[in-house]
Symmetry: C2
Subunit: 245 residues, 2 copies
């Protein structure tokens, strides 16, 4: 618990290492650039993007705050509450972008509630460990995805969305909390690895439905390289916990 506190104290709100850097294999810049253009064509209109992203963060906050309720010790509760601040802050910042446009955040979020509520229900962990993995895997994957999808938005929005979403401090906190018990408990680690695999599938479904065209063959083709990259990031994230992706 002292380690987690130290991590919490040391870091500011650091930006995630830019997802622009080639990550998975040695594909050249031109390929990457064309993939990004292809994804930008799937970016929904600003209002749809912001309503959906804001409600998703509210939902991720619900999941993260549930981890605080399930925390078995004072240290676990304290760390979980600190982790829950991140989606709450992202939600508030996205609502701020909506209100800057004199739009009503609730009106924009409402259409996405049924699907995202379903997502939250199926990704609800059975205990504190699973709940933290939900925050780690789903927020990790979907923050990356929405930041990438946001690059197709007009004006300064891509940069603003990026700086709201691409913050990796919650991940450091979760690693500090979980790594020890995962290393010490093989049975826990196999259960959490399976749980993580389930979650990334659910996160991909949400990501796919967030695009402008919805699910059709063309969308799949455009999404595929992006998903490959995001799954690479997911695998590295699981590695950091000592879990098989």
């Amino acid at each position: 618990m002292v380690y987690a506190d130290r991590v919490l104290s040391l870091f500011g709100r650091r930006r995630r290492k830019s997802a622009e850097a080639p990550t998975l294999n040695s594909r050249d810049d031109a390929t990457l650039r064309s993939e990004r253009v292809a994804l930008a064509e799937l970016t929904p209109p600003v209002e749809r993007f912001l309503g959906q992203a804001a409600y998703l963060q509210l939902s991720l906050f619900e999941s993260a705050s549930r981890a605080a309720q399930l925390g078995p010790t004072v240290a676990a509760k304290r760390a979980s509450a600190a982790i829950a601040e991140f989606p709450l802050e992202k939600h508030r910042a996205l609502v701020g972008l909506i209100e800057d446009r004199d739009l009503d955040a609730v009106d924009l979020m409402e259409p996405f509630a049924p699907a995202i509520d379903r997502f939250r229900t199926v990704t609800t962990g059975a205990d504190w460990h699973e709940s933290l993995i939900t925050s780690y895997v789903c927020a990790g994957f979907l923050d990356d995805f929405f930041a990438a999808l946001g690059r197709g938005l007009p004006k300064d929005l891509p940069q603003r969305i990026g700086s709201i979403l691409e913050v990796e401090d919650a991940e450091r906190l979760i690693i500090a909390e979980l790594r020890w018990s995962i290393d010490a408990t093989p049975r826990l680690s196999s259960r959490l690895a399976l749980w993580g695999r389930r979650l990334v599938g659910d996160a991909m479904l949400v990501a796919r439905s967030a695009t402008e065209q919805g699910v059709d063959a063309d969308t799949e083709t455009r999404l595929e390289p992006v998903f490959t990259e995001l799954i690479g990031a997911h695998t590295r994230r699981m590695d950091k916990l000592g879990l098989t992706a």
Copy 2:
């Protein structure tokens, strides 16, 4: 929901009207001053005060975030999440005061967990309305109490504790959310009035156990005028919701 959004946008983090002003009846300043001195004598040592206050805010965050989970609409969830930010921010600020002293927040909070967890369990509302009333009544009463108790702390701590705890924006948000449905539903209002009465009793028990001496006859005598004042504030708070205290 538009009203709640407007309330949310309009206010900054305003300080609560100072609890120093005479409130309940026409007791003169000298009486008030002597009561405050009497309470200051019950102030526990800094470490005990901060550990307890920090864990209480963590616990109030748990209750408030549960309201977000129970919120029946997108508007209710969004308002509840905004309300949950307040205890989370207070918790973080109090942990900051602990860490400024190079102490471990978890170590200082741990001794108070059993009693405060019990308090949280008995004050858990059955639905969203009751959960919001829990945030309103318990946080209202206990923030006032800890701010008053903190006046016996050394150096600049009374002022710092006061500016952390005496923020009334969560109350405005809760009023904006609940007032309408209370006015429209007599049955709800009598149920919530009863719930509020229960809660203030639970809050008084926590307040009493937070003092240095614990429960003895002398403590009771010193606490009585303070509780009278805090119950006056509680009654005005319930009035604002259209509920009998």
